[in-house]
Amino acid sequence: MKELLKEKALWISTVICFAALLAAFPFYQIELPLGTGSFVKMYNVALDSQIVLFLLPIASVLPMGAIYVKESSSGFLRLYITRISFMEYIRKKLLQIYVSGFLPFFLAGGATLLLSFLLIYPMELQGEMPWEEVWKSCRFLLRVSLTGGILAQIAGIFAAFFRNYYMAYGLPFVCYYMLTILKERYFTDMYAMYPAEWLKCEQDWGVDSLGIWVFFAFFSAAALLLHGLLLYNRLREI
């Protein structure tokens, strides 16, 4: 984790995400007196914006998506692998990459929610704290962050497979939009493989939308497993 937190790209990505959320924040809606729960509603508008949807496959893969290419091409991996076991290296990298995709939006989203609370809440009419809405927003943010983690893992898979920066950084973006194209242009009922739906969770995902969490767990596990296998094969070649 220390290694990850020292990574400049992680903080740059977080700042980009934060700037995007601020850009999408509906400041123009601030008109006194504000109704109860306005800070969450405005925060939801920012989180649900097109800019977040567009930025997700970019900001999540930037921090460590191509770490394997970087380490292997610089020769660092050859030295590093003598000090650490294969399994330890794979476990470490899988976790680092997943968290590096998860964190930028999670941190930026958390900071925006806090900022929204500090700025907007004092202007609201006094009433009960809308805990249900806050919880809903947190779940939305969690879904965005989990999608970021999966995308980072996909970048890692492409990095290990192609050993190329272009592919590692570019293909997750292309895959993400391929799914969007398929849903929007050809298979309009195919909502389960539609990235925007993973974030919004508006369609039928079972009781209490539990299906979406099962989907995230399954997709994450599959991506981690595939990435782990690819990394293991690459390490054996050294």
Partner: protein, 305 residues
Amino acid sequence: MKVSDTKLLFVKQTASSVRWNFLGFFKNPRIILTFLFALVLCFFLSDRALMVADYYDTPMQALEPFIWTFGDATSILLSSLLLILLLIDLPKLTPFTPYMLLRTRKVCWLLAQFFYIFLVTAGYILYMMSVTSLLCMQKTYAGNIWSKTAALFAYSSMGDKFSVPSTVKVMESTTPVECSLQMVLLLICYALTLSFLMLYFQMRIGKKAGIAAGLCYSLFGFLLDPETLAKILHKEEYEMFQIRRITGWVSPLNHATYGMHDFGYDALPTVEQSCALFLLLLLVMSLFSFRMLKRYNFNSFTGEM
């Protein structure tokens, strides 16, 4: 050696150099990714035309999405930026180049670069056209006749509202196929000038200069967009015809924009005049490149200059 044999050898050497340039082209991650990005770009750009067709539930001719999408200067600009990524490695230098130059003439090598650029550019533009049509295929038909959606755009203010270039004059004077062919021609000419400019600067100064030249060329076109220029110069609506006329002649990007041509309303260039201007520009660029090649220092054959 006979004259005809020399000519044949010249052609053969050029052809083999072109083939060499294309070696590994389809396996190059940068090339693959550029074409994939182009697909995503076409998806974004074709959205507004499809939105109207969806809303009114009217069909479109297969090439109309392409005509509407790439009849706009901003779309051409965005697609040309991807072309810069595609041609970033010009001139093609590999460890094999010195051996090739020993066995061929420099002129053949440079001509091969020209053909390579032409083929890549033309392929890229045709790819954009096909992809745009394929992305909208659920709403399109093949017949060479303007659609009801086109009429909706042309006969109402909806075209302006959605920034979709569709005019009655165009619909009356051409067919969709004819119109799209003219657009492809203009786009190829624009993309070729951009590519040749990059080639010249890459040979003269270096790779970064080539990219900078490409970006400056695009930026020049963007700044000379009538709307942008009017905002910068604080011009009123009634003064727009002057701005349109000047930028229509001066800006290469506007020469590539189909809607910025003479349809009997303004004293703008015709499609033929624009093509002639582009060809003139290409000729000048080719001459400069030939001159540059005589002094070109092949100091690195690692593939990087």
